[in-house]
Symmetry: D5
Subunit: 91 residues, 10 copies
C-alpha cells in the first residue's frame, strides 16, 4: 500500500533549544531507520520550506498511523495523507 505524505514542520519559537535539537536528532534517526527498513520509500525536501514530501509503502493504514504518530516532531507537524494506487499509464 502506497501513500504520499506531506509533512509541514512548525516548531514554536519559545521551545527550549536543547529539547528542540534533541527532538530533531531523534527525528532524523527515526526516519533513517524506517528508510532502511523499506517502509519510508522516499523523502524529499520541498524547496524553500520546512516541509517534506514522502512516499510510504506499508501494509495497512494502522501501520502508517503508527509510524506517523511516533515521529518525534509529530506534535509540531501538519500532515496530509494521500492514498496512491497504480496508474493505468505506468510502464
Amino acid at each position: 500500500m502506497l501513500y504520499a505524505v506531506r509533512m509541514q514542520v512548525d516548531i514554536p519559537h519559545d521551545l527550549d533549544p536543547t529539547v528542540r535539537d534533541e527532538t530533531i536528532a531523534r527525528e532524523k534517526a527515526y526516519s533513517q531507520q524506517l528508510q532502511r527498513g523499506g517502509e519510508w520509500a522516499h523523502i524529499w525536501r520541498i524547496a524553500g520550506q520546512y516541509s517534506n514530501l514522502s512516499i510510504f509503502e506499508v501494509e495497512s493504514h494502522e501501520r502508517l498511523h503508527e509510524i506517523l504518530w511516533n515521529l518525534p516532531l509529530f506534535p509540531y507537524m501538519t500532515i496530509e495523507v494521500t492514498p496512491l494506487a497504480t496508474h493505468p499509464s505506468a510502464v
Copy 2:
C-alpha cells in the same frame, strides 16, 4: 532537478466522445514515452480521483514546462508544481 506534479483532470461532459477517447489514448502514449526516457520518473493514481501524482526528473524548468504544456489533456487539467530538493535525512 526533481519536481512533484499533481495533475487533476476535468474533461467537459459535452466534449465529443471520439475526441475524448483519442485524446486519452494520446495522453497514455505520450506519458509512457517520457517514462521510458526517464524524465517522468513516477506516476501514481490518487485513489478515488481522476488525478495523478507524478515525479519528474528533468534538466530545467523550461523542459518541465515543455513536457506539461504538450500533454494532450493539458487544456482540461489543473496542475500544481512543487520543486523538490535532497532531504538531509535521506539515506
Copy 3:
C-alpha cells in the same frame, strides 16, 4: 482497510434527462450490489445536499479506486477519501 469517502454529486443541468435517469438507476444498483457484498459498509445522505458520506471496507487502495472509478455518476462527482485506522479509545 477502512476509508471514509464523501461524494458530492453535481449533474450538469443540460444533460439529457434519459441519460440522467438511467445513470442514477445504474448508480443505485451498483451501490446496492457492493453494500450486499460487504465492501460498501455504510452510506448516509448528508442532510440538505446531493452528497453522501460512506464507509468502505476493502482490501487495498487499488480496490477502492476500482470501485469509485466505476461509479456511474463518477464523472459528475467530487470525491474526498480519508483513510481510517482503529482509534485507541474504541471499545
Copy 4:
C-alpha cells in the same frame, strides 16, 4: 438522529504535562462510557492525524451539544458536525 462529527485535537505545547495526561485519560473514559451507552456509535482515527471521525446516534441537537461540550479535550478541539439522513440507496 445520526451525526458525523470530525474532531481535530490541538493541545498547546506549553500545557502542563500532568494536566495534559490527566485530560487525555478522562477523555478516553468519557468516550468509552458513551460508546457503551450506544450514543457514540463509531469512532475512527484519521490516519496520520490527531483527529477522529465519529458517528453519534442521539435524540436531539441538544443532546449532541451536551456530549461534545463536555468532552475533556473540547477546549483544544476544532469540531465539524454533519447531520446525516437515510440514503435512498441504502440496503
Copy 5:
C-alpha cells in the same frame, strides 16, 4: 429540532426563461406552504445576494432533507445546514 439553512441560488443563464419563471413561482408557493405549516420558521433575504437565510423547525434530519430536496430550485442551489441548540444565555 432547529436548523439554520443558507441557500444560495445560481440559475444557469441559458435555462429556458419559461422553465425558469415557472420554477421560481413553484418555489414561492412551496416555501409559503411550509411557512404556513410552521416548519419553515423564518426566511430572510441576504442583502445584495440571490440567497436566503432560513430557520427550520422540524422533527428530524429526515424531514429537513425531504423538504430541501424537494425545493423546485434545489438543482441550482448551494445549501449549508447548521444544527442549532438552545443557548444557555437565551432568556
Copy 6:
C-alpha cells in the same frame, strides 16, 4: 434593521481562570439585558461549537457595532455580520 451575526469564541488557554469566569458571567448578563430590551432578537448555540448564531434588530449599523464592540468576550471572538432584508416569499 435585521442582522444575522455569527460569533465564534476562542478564549486563550492561558487566560487567568478568574478573569475568564468573570468575563463569561458578564457576557451572559449583557446578552440577557439586550434580549429583554428587544434588540438581540434571537440567540442559538451552534451544536458542537463554542459559537452562536444571533439575530439583531437595531436602528442602525452604529448601534449594532456599539453592541458587539462592548461584548465582554469581544476580544476573543471572530464575528461575521450579514445584513438581512425582507424575503419576497415570506408570509
Copy 7:
C-alpha cells in the same frame, strides 16, 4: 446607512453580443442615475479587474437590496456587502 459593496462581473462568453452590449449600456445609465440621486456615493474600478468597489448611502437594507437586485448585470455578478459605521478616529 453606509455600505461598502464589491461587485465582480463575469459575463458568460456565449451571451449574445447584442444582449451583452445593451445590458452594459443599461447598467451604466442605472448607475449614473443612482449616483446623481446621492445613494451611490462612490464607484471605483479595481485596477486590472472587471470589478468595482462602491460606497452606498441608503436608508435601509431593504433599499440597498432593491438597488443591487435591479442592476442589469446582477445575474452575472458576485457581490459582497460590508456594513460600515463611523470610525472613532475619523476627523
Copy 8:
C-alpha cells in the same frame, strides 16, 4: 493615486495594557494627522469587527507603504491593499 486599504487589528491578549493603550492613542493621533493632510481620504469602521476600510490618496506606492509601515498598530494588523482607478460609469 487611490487605494482601498482594509486593516484588521488583532492585539495579543498578553500585551502589556499600558503599551496597548499608549499604542492605540498614538494610532489615533497618527491617523488624524494624515486625514487632515488629505492623504487618508476616508476611514470607516467595519460593523462588528476591530477593522477599518480606508481610502488613501497618495502620490505613489512608496508613500502608501511609508504611511502603513509607520502605523503604531502595524505589527498587529493584517492589511489588504487594492489599487483603484476611475470607473467609466462614475459621474
Copy 9:
C-alpha cells in the same frame, strides 16, 4: 510605479478555434509592443501552467488598468495585481 501582475488564462473549450488562434496572436503582438515600449518590464511563464507573472512599470493605476483591460485574452483571464515599492534591503 511598479506592479506585479499574475495572469491565469482559461479559454473555454467550445470557443471557435479561429477566434481562439487569432486572439492569441493579437495577445502576443500587444504584449510585445508594450514590452518594447518599456511599460511591460518582465514576463515569465509559470512552469506547468497557462499563466504568467509579469512586472509592469507604468505612471499610474489608470494606465495599468487600461493596459490590462485591453489585453485580447482579458475576458478569459483571472488577474491579480500587487503594488510594489522599493525594498530597504535592495542594493
Copy 10:
C-alpha cells in the same frame, strides 16, 4: 533557473527586541551579499505588508533551498516558491 519567491514575515511580538534587531540586521546583510553575487536578482517590498516578492536566478533547487533555509528570518517566514520559464511572448 529562475524562481519567484514571496516571503511574508511574522515576528512573534514577544521575541527579545535585541534578538529581533540583530536578526533583521543579519537578514539585510545576507540579502545584499546574495544580490551582489547575482543570485538574488530582484527584491521588491509588497506595499502595505511585511513581505517581499523576489526573483532568484540560481543553478538548482538545491541551491535555492540552501539560500532560503539560511535566511536569518526563515523561522518567522511563510514562503511560496514558483518556478519560472521563458515566456513565448517575451521579447
